[in-house]
């Protein structure tokens, strides 16, 4: 079962492209410069012709799409916290920073605002294009495939809407598309029934362009490029933020040794992943599949023996 081996840091299936294999590309989403403008959400919808959704007043800060799904391939999360972006976390504001305390940078207490420090975290979430992608592994039709760029894409002419990838994804990225009935729009008159997710703009990549969200991002919070290069850039950025004393700065999905073999689209976060609705330690479910098959064979054998045993002894 070599296909199930999780040792390689290369995306499963990527190397089968031979001469057509391209450099592995992805996103580095640096949330420390995100301004929550949602240009990524809009650009994604426009380029990929995604039907409208969301638009509800959730009361959850400025978020109105709430989660990734069939019709939301970029989702900007908003988190309001009563803590400073930079500097002392639990410091009583009245107390001046101790001399030599390197966490208390000049910018740490903006205007010495007496314990009312507020930070507004924003994060543009997207499909992680995992190195070991559970959605791709469990897809029974082969509709989900690894592209020559190392990304994960659903072939819409193959997907039959079985929905297996939906609970298999440890990030809840994929979902089945449901549309409000629109009898006056023939294209949308029927339920779609298929599963949709971010394609990392496969069509744009083929044409030598960067994905729509990265193109539209005005602050370079969304950076597109070869994954190796992005990882270097992210390491440098983390070092800088750490030196400046930013609270909670951490990379998420950068390490190829994590439970999914590293993300093709990884992040710089300013708090733990779960604060943004992300799993703190995602694992590709198929990692345990070899043992599950063995276990199942044992149970099947027991069933065979158990039924036969019902005929041994006893009164008829």
């Amino acid at each position: 079962m070599s296909v199930l081996e999780q040792t390689s840091v290369h995306p499963d299936g990527w190397e089968s492209y031979g001469d057509e294999q391209q450099e592995r590309v992805g996103f580095f989403t640096d949330t420390s410069v995100c301004i929550g403008c949602k240009a990524c959400e809009v650009a994604c919808k426009e380029w990929n012709l995604i039907p409208a959704d969301g638009g509800a007043w959730t009361g959850e800060s400025y978020d109105h799409t709430s989660h990734l799904g069939a019709n939301t391939w970029r989702h900007v999360a908003f988190v309001e916290q009563e803590k400073p972006l930079v500097g002392l976390l639990e410091a009583p504001a009245a107390k001046p920073p101790a001399p030599g305390d390197k966490t208390a940078l000049p910018s740490a207490a903006p205007g010495g605002n007496g314990g009312t420090a507020l930070r507004w975290l924003m994060e543009s979430d997207v499909c992680k294009h995992c190195t070991h992608a559970a959605c791709l592994d469990v897809c029974p039709t082969g509709a989900l495939f690894r592209t020559e760029f190392g990304t994960v894409v659903v072939q819409q002419d193959i997907c039959n809407g079985c929905g297996y990838c939906v609970p298999a994804c440890p990030f809840g990225v994929l979902d089945k598309r449901h549309l409000a009935p629109a009898p006056d729009l023939p294209a949308f008159a029927k339920e779609d029934g298929r599963v949709w997710k971010c394609t990392l703009c496969y069509d744009r990549l083929k044409g030598g362009h960067e994905p729509a969200c990265a193109k539209a991002c005005p602050t370079k919070s969304i950076q597109f490029g070869p994954l190796d290069e992005l990882r270097e850039r992210a390491d440098a950025r983390l070092e800088k933020l750490s030196a400046e004393g930013w609270n909670g700065a951490q990379l998420y999905g950068r390490d190829p040794e994590d439970g999914v073999g590293g993300f093709g689209a990884f992040f710089l976060l300013l708090d733990d992943p779960e604060v943004y609705g992300l799993p703190p330690d995602p694992v590709v479910t198929t990692r345990d599949l070899p043992q599950m098959w063995t276990n199942m064979l044992a149970a099947a054998g027991a069933l065979l023996v158990g039924v036969a045993a019902a005929f041994v002894g006893g009164r008829s």
Partner: protein, 311 residues
């Protein structure tokens, strides 16, 4: 490396929203878990009965298995978002996808048991019938148990964490279903092994469920909450009543056998619903996803996050 943001042990989440998606599957799927189990175990029951010289039981179990094998794909196709593309399941052979493997198993099992049943009805081509029966007997146990792997191979905590027990629970439930269904249609005189199978299946499955809930610890509570709890009580009540009836009166009274067999079958259907519902409940509440992962992180660390080197 210390966590600068952890404040106490309180779980944090994004406005309490789920981390993973609930499955999109509807009522057809737990119903199929039942019919698939019934079909698989009935094929084995039929062959065993034939080898033991119990023709009456052999024939009935064969027909029951073939009928359940016929209903199963209909249920599965009806759940698809694009039912007309059901055959896309068979355009690849993929060991990493339990659903793909299951589609092939169902095709082989259904084809074999259907062929055997038709030839039995027609009374012709005995060698082919025997061969088809043998194939169905070998595919049957796989059909009855792979569904346990199917649900366990997801990010759904109540399913993935129960991956050790689920195929065994489904095997026991399938045995109970096949035995109970045969008890309904076969005269008590010839249905002894079927009754024993039903009673043993109910007992084994009850013990396995209990063991699983215990091993799951805190996560086990989803099996005792909401819809899962209601189905769980129904499964236990119907299964126990049916099994008791079969064991105590099933040998003498045809009516008791019919009622007992029906109750056990209903109980097994409820058991599949229990597992189905528990999965949804554990996916919906982010605490089941976050807390176990956070504990893992606190215990052994995680490579998913890279924190600045503070040394």
């Amino acid at each position: 490396m210390s966590s600068v943001t952890a404040t106490g042990t309180e779980m944090r989440s994004y406005y309490g929203r789920p981390v993973i998606k609930e499955p999109t599957w509807t009522w057809e799927i737990p119903t199929y878990f039942f019919t698939g189990g019934l079909a698989g175990a009935s094929s084995v029951l039929s062959t065993s009965a034939r080898l033991a010289g119990n023709e009456k039981l052999a024939r009935t179990a064969l027909y029951l298995g073939a009928a359940a094998d016929l209903v199963s794909p209909a249920l599965l196709i009806s759940d698809l978002g694009r039912p007309e593309r059901f055959h896309h399941m068979l355009r690849v052979v993929k060991a990493t996808s339990p659903m793909n493997v299951g589609s092939w198993v169902l095709l082989v099992s259904g084809g074999a048991s259907g062929t055997a049943a038709l030839l039995e009805l027609a009374g012709r081509l005995k060698p082919v019938k025997v061969l088809a029966g043998a194939v169905a007997t070998l595919a049957g146990p796989a059909l009855a148990t792979y569904t346990g792997v199917l649900v366990a191979d997801t990010a759904v905590p109540a399913w993935h964490e129960a991956r050790r027990e689920l195929p065994w629970i489904f095997a026991a439930s399938a045995a109970a279903s096949a035995g109970a269904a045969a008890s309904v249609f076969v005269h008590p005189r010839e249905a002894g092994p079927a009754r024993r199978l039903a009673v043993a299946g109910v007992l084994a499955e009850g013990a396995l469920m209990q063991a699983m809930e215990l091993r799951l610890g805190k996560l086990g509570e989803v099996y005792r909450q909401g819809g899962a709890a209601r189905f769980s009580w129904a499964a236990k009540g119907l299964g126990a009543a049916g099994a008791a009836l079969l064991a105590r009166r099933g040998r003498k009274s045809r009516a008791a056998a019919v009622l007992g067999g029906t109750l056990v079958c209903a109980g097994e259907l409820c058991l599949r619903w229990t597992v189905f519902k528990a999965g949804f409940q554990s996916a919906r509440d982010p605490k089941y996803v976050i807390e176990s992962q956070r504990q893992r992180v606190e215990r052994g660390g995680t490579k998913a996050t890279t924190k600045p080197d503070t040394t």
